[in-house]
Structure formats: C-alpha cells, structure tokens
Amino acid sequence: MTSAAVNLHTFLDAIRFIGSNWHLLLDKAAQQLELAGAALGLAMAVVLPLGIALGHLRRGSTVAIAGSIAGRALPVLVLIAAFLTVFGIGFVNNMIALAVLASGPILINSYEGVAHVETNVVDAARASGMTAGEVLRRVELPLALPLLAAGVRVAAVTVVATAPIAAIAGGGGLGDIIVNQAGYGFDGVLGASICAMALSVFAYGVLTVLERAVTPAGLRRLAELEKGNRRRETVPVANIT
C-alpha cells in the first residue's frame, strides 16, 4: 500500500473507532470539560479580583507581567507533576495545575483592562462624586469588559486544550485514551485525538460567541480600533503545556 493509502486507512480506522465508541468519548469529553471548568472557575475566583484590584489602583504592573510570564514559562507537565507530589493523584492536583495555567491570561488582561481605562474618564467619574467602589463598578469594569472577556476566553481555551495531559496524573478526560495506546490501539488514540481537537475548536467557537455577546457593540468597535495602537498584544496562550 502506498503511504497515502496507509494514512487514509489509519484515519478511517480512527473514524470507525469514534463511531463505535462515541458514548465513551462523550463521557471522557464531559470529564475533560468538568476539569477545565473547575480549573477556570478557581483561576477566575482567585485571580480576577486581584487583577481588577491592581488595575484599579494602577499599581503592581510588574506583578501582573510577572504573573503572565510565569503562566507561560511553567510547563503544565511540571505543574501537574509537582502538585501530584503534594496532593497525590486525582482531581485536585490537576485542577490546581490547570488553574495556575489559566491565571496568566486572566491576570494580565484584567489588570490591563482596568488600568488602561482612560484616565480622563476615570477622573470625570470621580469628579462627579462617585466613590471608588462606584467608579469601579459603573465605569471601569464595563469599559474593561472587552479585555476581561478576551482574557477569560484565552484562558478557557488554553485549559480545555491542555487538559488531555492531565491523564497521566489521573485527571481523566480524552487524554486517558490518548496516552493508553496499549489499551485502545492506535485507532483509538487517533480517534480520541481527533475528538480532542474538535472539542477545542468547539470551545473556541462557543467562547468567542459568548465574548461578543457580553461586549456592548460600541466598545467592541473601540477595542478593534485600539488593537492597532496597542503595542503589547494579548498573544493567544492556549495550549501551553
């Protein structure tokens, strides 16, 4: 058989696997989303308030930047392994590792989103008698929403895409199949890989739609215009492992 035919054959096998095992794959996918969701939730709960607070005070930019670099520089594999030694095998260590991963984009985006609200606007709000809390709630947060939402989207896609690795530390998900070639055969591995890819693309699509829905139209246009001016872009950090 020519190599092209071999390849086609292999992929067909994989599709067949997907067809006959879709229930299992769906379960695994759900498991993966559960893990991703928990990690994202944890990251948002811890880091989002921190980023917003720092941005509001317009302090600690080095912390925010350091945080995002750390998020990129810490390989997930290392995080998972390290946390495994502390928490043991299971759900918790993976969740925390992925949460650390998700923190990077959320931190830097929430910080920048709030801190880069035009000082004129903030001054005007303060001058009209709003308390600091009101300024934050009524002016800064709504204006920071586009960047915030983008950060959450990047973090979410990152986590969904990275979760398969957690399989080696008991995290479950489609990774369980991908790392277990002995158990499921290569067609299983390939099938699960294709499903993982589809899941990621799906998550990306859903989150992009959600992000748009959350951003008021006027701000969206403004953000698009500003993107040209901003020197540092939020580079997609999905899939850092």
Binding site: N7, A73, P75, I165, L190, R231, P236
Partner: protein, 242 residues
C-alpha cells in the same frame, strides 16, 4: 523496578537504593541530582534546547517570510491569522498523534507540531510590528529617495524589531513549555524524566522538581536573553520621552 533504557534515552536509576533521602522520597535530594546530572538531566536539557531551537528557528523563518508577504498583500493576513488561531487550539498531545500517520514516531513529528505552534505565536506579532511603523517616517523615507529595499532594510525592519522580539519571547518560552509534552511521544527533552517519574506508583519527587526547575530556568533564561538582545538592537525603544 528498573526501567530499561532505550537507545537514546537516559538511564533511570533503580528507585529504592541510594541515599536515605532517595529511599524516603524527600522533597529534594541534591545527592541524586549531582549523581545523575550526567546521565539523566543534562542529556535531557540538551535535547530540550535542541527541540526548542529547531522549532523556533524554522518557525521564525517561516513566520517572517509570511509576515513580509502579508505586509505587501494585506488580504492574506486575515486568512492566515484565522487558520493560525484555530491551529493553536489543538491540544499538543492530539496534534502529535494526528501527525504520526504521516511522519511516524520521530523527532520530525514533534518538530512539525512545535513549528506550527510557533508560527501561530510569531506571525501576528510580526505583522503588527511591521504595521506599527509610523506612516510619517515611511513618507519621508520615500521623499528622500530611498528605494523600496532600502526602506525595508533601514526603516521598516529596525522599527518593527521590538514587536518581533516580543513575539520571539512568547514563542521561545511557550515552546520550551510545549516541548515537555514531546516526552509522551519520544524519550527526549526534559519532559521525559518527569513522564517516567510519574509512571511510578510513588512518583520520585527529586526528579520531577529537578527536571521541572531546569525547564522553568531554561524558559526564563531565554526570556532574559531576548530582553537583553532587544536593549542592544533597539536602544531607541527604551529611551524616555522628553
């Protein structure tokens, strides 16, 4: 349990003999590290640098050419960025396996995937960098009688440099991270010791921490190196505003 060494991989020591620290699996045993630097950690580090270097090198070359092309033909940048964004959402583990039918279980597979991810990170930054050249400067360059090529070499590229370096920083650091996953496919890179250590019923802490620290250290060192390079190559980007 002794894990057999593959032809190119490091030798994982018998877990259970050695100093007390090793036996009791304390947090960190420097004795083990110094004993096995040569056969475990250093080769892994070198392989990791290789994997990263090749990926970033090739990725840079392709992204740079693509960016120059998209700079001239604006309509290209939209589609390329769209494809890149989608490519980036693919889990590395999955991408490796999807490539296997084409390139087998070889370094090439890993490199193709890593290059793809690098492209995604570099391309938008390069395009942004080229587009951020002030229009005034280009106008004047034309008026002074620069040829197209002279403008590119003496004005556009130098001014795009900070953005290029920013892209490289992200790319290099991310690739160092991504390269650890290569261990799932090949016994290479700093991911491999970690991978093996995890397979044990009671994972060997020191190995994990040592390899992990090396990976993180490598990423940070590369980042600092690039920042220093930017200072040297584009001193104007650091000077204050009057």
């Amino acid at each position: 349990m002794i894990l057999a060494a593959t032809g190119s991989g490091p030798v994982i020591p018998h877990y259970g003999t050695g100093s007390r620290c090793v036996v009791e699996n304390h947090a960190f045993c420097s004795s083990w590290v110094s004993a096995h630097w040569g056969d475990t950690l250093q080769p892994a580090l070198v392989q990791h640098v290789e994997l990263t270097g090749i990926a970033v090198g090739i990725g840079f070359a392709i992204a740079f050419s693509a960016a120059l092309l998209a700079y001239r033909r604006r309509w290209l940048s939209g589609p390329i960025e769209g494809i890149s964004a989608l490519l980036y959402t693919i889990p590395s583990l999955a991408l490796f396996q999807i490539l296997v039918p084409f390139t087998g279980i070889t370094t090439t597979t890993v490199e193709v995937a890593l290059v793809a991810y690098t492209l995604v990170m570099l391309f938008p930054n390069f395009v942004t960098g080229l587009n951020s050249v002030p229009a005034d400067a280009l106008d004047v360059a034309r008026a002074m009688g620069f040829t197209r090529r002279q403008t590119l070499l003496r004005v556009e590229l130098p001014l795009a440099l900070p953005a290029i370096v920013a892209g490289l920083r992200v790319a290099v650091v991310s690739t160092v991270s991504l390269a650890t996953v290569a261990a799932f496919l090949l016994p290479k890179g700093l991911g491999y010791p970690i991978f093996l250590a995890l397979k044990e019923p009671s994972p060997f802490r020191t190995e994990i921490y040592a390899a992990g620290a090396l990976a993180v250290g490598l990423a940070l060192a590369a980042d600092l190196l690039l920042v220093a390079a930017r200072r040297v190559l584009a001193p104007w980007a650091h000077r204050g505003v009057a």
